[in-house]
């Protein structure tokens, strides 16, 4: 058999020779070039590994991270929608560096009257404006947001020098903070809480006119320590409103005073449950801890309807304590219905919790808590066991925002309690997504300010897996006629419209969120899909899942960078993926692989013209070789048949007899049909070529040529196919799993597909 292969090689050799001669005729001197190969390693893009971050992608031997512990007393003024706070921060310098100053983030200042956020938005004058728009745009001063910093003082009670640069505040310490030392200081502040529905925002209140109440979902409500680390120093990128947060881990002791009739939940363990719970609530809570299948309602809708008829003037303080979290959020209102259910994660019970107003029902009482529980199970399987004791989903209009143990989610039926599939699956998806954020970035704590995709992309990927699980575990969540969860993001075919779109409005994934044109596609859909394709098509779930879990495990409760992720995925799978990261993450290239040409060949014992040249050149005899004749070529004669030549070629027969036993010969393939298939690649991305060969007898075979097939020619490659059955059609990417943006060139013979427009028009006509 080796000899046969040699003959095939000879054909190639001759072909190459012809090209070489053509090249020699080229007179124009050619310019040199640098290594532009798509498989070039990422040494130029990646920073050099060091003691902090190892080449394997794991934290290095000298890896460190800072710690910020908070003690806060908060009071909500529900009448005037103000929040007052007094916080003490203890900052531990675990870095080897001496710090001259500390930076604290004042994210609320993005809403201050002197915020620069509106100034970077392009705007124009409309030909006409409504009176109200005109008045509010050009005549009103707008919302008076932002922190009012009342005092900043040291542990000794003396005022500390500080300077505010927009959304950041520098604290000047009396003496530099050396490695290993701690610094304690406190800040007293208040601010006007914004209406998150009408002003838009990740936190704030929603106002309910019918009962004159607010529901508060509160976050980035306190001055928060910025991250200092080995890659950025102090995080110095301001909060413009889009790119989210970079926060150190720490412990939080938070006391929140709210009206007595409010229900409150937030990050951390409630340490004074008996003080704030009624006896009924306590009983129901104990029941919920043992209920694994159905949520137990702690505060019922009827109780809420009764309660909101009045407003209590008394106050209650809810005390929460959280360890090893990067942030703190809470929700409070007298309008909240509250339910809980236990979920087993590993050998531990976690509480899945939901809080919602009555307008969320019936959707929320039916599905929120179950979606939370299901998400924790899926994500724990894909990463590590959920380490916190609870996860809360709070209903808030138009929201989808995540904090440790708590998140806000949209999805509201209409006034009569009816909802469309869009609302239902929108709600389930957003809950799965935001609860999933507990893993990325709350625990695997990437820098959201720099790299939106690191949490959103990874989270969107696992969200897809979790959505599919959810429908399997809760088939009742699906609508009539559905057999799987209708995920919006994940499947390869769903990203082609974006990736094949106008290049002027596409940015590489490795771009800061603020500077991307299509934030959702750029930071969520594309990286999420890229990982899904990597898992299902390029690496396979076994290799991928091990490496992905390893990344999650290595970086849980730490601060990874993109390279730590890229490196770990390769290190833990023995799969060099530099080409994949380069193409999918560092460029805006897209996938488009097609079939350029298919040639059919006949095998013959009679020397062709080229065959004769070879015989002459190597001093061979005609019967030493077999010859391939292209269908339709000059030497192709009408009588040629697709047949095996072992009966016609005496030397081949002899060779087989001499070298193989009768048993071996019986098992041998007898190829009769020979093809040369040329694949071309109009798209810039290199990807495996997945090809389905369909045979005349109705069977088919799928072959995958690894992406490296493109390493020497980025435009086209050919494969010789020897088959004992006639091939009737060839399809590239038959299951649409590579995100090929143009499938019109994927089939041979070329299928003339009816365009979308004609299809629709015909359907309407009929």
């Amino acid at each position: 058999m080796n000899k046969l292969k040699y003959y095939l090689l000879t054909v190639l050799f001759v072909t190459v020779g012809v090209f070489a001669q053509q090249d020699e005729e080229q007179k124009e001197p050619q310019a040199g070039h640098t290594n532009q190969n798509k498989f070039k390693q990422l040494y130029d893009e990646f920073s050099t590994p060091n003691m902090y971050r190892a080449a394997s992608g794991a934290p290095g031997s000298a890896y460190y991270q800072q710690q910020a512990d908070y003690k806060m007393d908060l009071e909500l003024d529900d009448v005037n929608a103000k929040l007052y706070g007094n916080e003490t921060i203890t900052y531990t310098n675990n870095s080897p560096d001496v710090l001259q100053y500390l930076w604290v983030q004042l994210d609320q200042n993005m809403r201050a009257r002197d915020s620069k956020t509106p100034l970077i938005q392009g705007s124009g004058v409309n030909p006409a404006a409504q009176i109200s728009t005109y008045a509010n745009t050009y005549m009103s001063e707008g919302f008076d947001g932002g922190f009012n910093i009342q005092e900043v003082k040291g542990a000794n009670g003396k005022p500390l020098k500080h300077m505010i640069n927009r959304t950041m505040m520098r604290i000047d310490m009396p003496k530099p903070l050396v490695s290993g030392a701690q610094f304690t200081f406190s800040i007293k502040w208040w601010y006007n809480i914004n209406d998150h529905v009408n002003g838009r925002g990740r936190s704030g209140y929603e106002y309910f006119k019918e009962d004159d109440n607010r529901a508060y979902v509160m976050a980035q409500f306190y001055p928060r320590m910025a991250v200092y680390n080995d890659v950025e120093g102090w995080q110095n990128s301001q909060f413009w409103g889009r790119d989210e947060f970079a926060l150190p881990f720490g412990n939080f002791e938070v006391n929140i005073t709210v009206p007595e009739d409010h229900i409150l939940d937030g990050t951390g363990k409630l340490t004074n449950r008996k003080e704030v719970f009624s006896k009924d609530m306590m009983k129901r809570y104990e029941k919920a801890k043992k209920s694994y299948n159905e949520p137990v309602v702690i505060v019922t809708q009827d109780e809420v309807v009764e309660k909101i008829k009045t407003k209590s003037s008394k106050k209650n303080t809810w005390k929460l304590y959280a360890e090893n979290v990067r942030d703190f959020g809470f929700a409070t209102s007298r309008r909240y219905i509250w339910d809980m259910m236990a979920v087993k994660i590993g050998n531990k019970d976690v509480m899945a919790v939901s809080m919602y107003g009555k307008e969320g029902n019936p959707l929320w009482e039916d599905w929120s808590t179950k979606a939370v529980a299901s998400t924790l199970k899926s994500y724990s399987r894909m990463t590590f066991d959920y380490p916190y004791h609870k996860a809360i989903s709070v209903h808030a209009k138009q929201q989808g925002m995540e904090y440790p143990m708590i998140c806000w989610n949209y999805g509201r039926p209409d006034k009569d309690g009816n909802y469309s599939d869009r609302v239902k699956f929108g709600m389930m998806s957003v809950i799965i997504h935001e609860v999933g954020h507990n893993f990325f970035p709350m625990i695997v704590n990437s820098d959201e300010r720099q790299w939106t995709w690191m949490d959103e992309g990874l989270n969107t990927f696992v969200q897809y897996v979790a959505e599919q699980d959810f429908a399997k575990w809760y088939p009742a969540a699906l609508s009539e006629g559905q057999s799987a969860y209708p995920s919006r993001r994940g499947p390869a075919a769903k990203i082609t419209r974006y990736m094949g779109g106008d290049q002027d409005f596409i940015a590489p994934i490795m771009t800061k969120g603020l500077n991307t044109y299509q934030f959702g596609n750029n930071a969520y859909s594309k990286p999420g899909t890229a990982l899904n394709i990597l898992r299902e098509t390029v690496m396979g779930p076994e290799l991928f899942d091990y490496a992905f879990k390893e990344y999650s495990r290595r970086w849980m409760f730490k601060h990874p960078t993109p390279e730590d992720f890229f490196r770990t995925m390769e290190d833990a799978s023995a799969f060099d993926l530099d080409w994949y990261w380069r193409g999918w993450f560092y460029t805006t290239d897209y996938v488009d692989i097609g079939i350029k040409d298919v040639k059919k060949f006949y095998v013959s014992t009679k020397a062709t013209k080229q065959g004769k040249d070879i015989i002459k050149r190597f001093g061979m005899d005609e019967k030493d070789l077999v010859y391939f004749v292209e269908d339709g070529s000059e030497e192709h004669t009408a009588g040629m048949k697709s047949e095996s030549i072992s009966n016609n070629s005496a030397p081949l027969k002899e060779y087989l007899m001499d070298n193989f036993s009768a048993e071996e010969r019986a098992k041998m393939k007898e190829p009769k049909f020979f093809y040369s298939v040329t694949f071309n690649k109009p798209g810039g991305l290199v990807m495996p070529i997945i090809v389905e060969y369909a045979y005349a007898d109705g069977t088919s075979k799928t072959e995958t040529y690894p992406a490296q097939i493109w390493r020497l020619n980025d435009n086209e490659v050919s494969k010789a196919i020897a088959s004992d059955k006639e091939i009737v059609s060839i399809t590239v990417d038959p299951k649409l799993e590579t995100a090929d943006v143009d499938t019109s060139n994927n089939a041979w013979p070329r299928e003339v597909k009816q365009g979308d427009f004609d299809k629709f028009k015909n359907k309407v006509k009929n």
Partner: protein
């Protein structure tokens, strides 16, 4: 309207950074001239939420899109609205655009429109003011494929027209 007022005051467009709620107002309209059929084929993709908001404000505040009910009346509104917002001039004559219908594709409404009996195109101009009346930051991207030439326009309230000469 309240939401849009505040939006303008604060201009915190960038804070729309929540997953699944699309954060920008964009429609994409593909216009292709198929000479053999003497037809200009138009497919306009608009976010369901945006169009629903618009229809609620303009026609009927009880409108819910993609709710699996009969949408004949809604189709009538969409037709009336789109034809008043989209103007195409071919060879200096304003074209008669036919609204064929619409279908839903996840969170997008895909509207099909056609201009018939176009034997040749020497000049082409398109004006697309869809949703400019509700979203001040609406962008309408128009991609044309005419006489083998592809071109992309971004139409905004201050510049709502694209022109091509062949």
């Amino acid at each position: 309207m309240k939401i849009f007022k505040w939006l303008l005051i604060l201009s915190i467009i960038t804070s729309f950074a929540f997953v699944s709620v699309h954060k920008y107002y964009v429609s994409i309209t593909k216009i292709e001239y198929v000479k053999e059929k003497k037809s200009v084929q138009i497919i306009s993709r608009i976010f369901i939420d945006d169009l629903e908001n618009l229809l609620k404000e303009r026609f009927d505040k009880n409108i819910v899109l993609a709710s699996k009910t009969d949408e004949t009346i809604i189709d009538g509104y969409i037709k009336e609205y789109l034809l008043s917002r989209l103007k195409i001039t071919i060879n200096k004559n304003e074209s008669n655009i036919v609204f064929i219908g619409k279908k839903y594709d996840e969170d997008v409404v895909q509207c099909y429109l056609e201009i018939e009996n176009i034997k040749h195109i020497k000049s082409f101009s398109v004006e697309n003011k869809t949703l400019f009346d509700v979203f001040s930051d609406q962008k309408n991207i128009v991609r044309t494929n005419i006489n083998g030439k592809q071109k992309s326009f971004i139409l905004i309230p201050e510049n709502d027209k694209g022109m091509l000469n062949f």
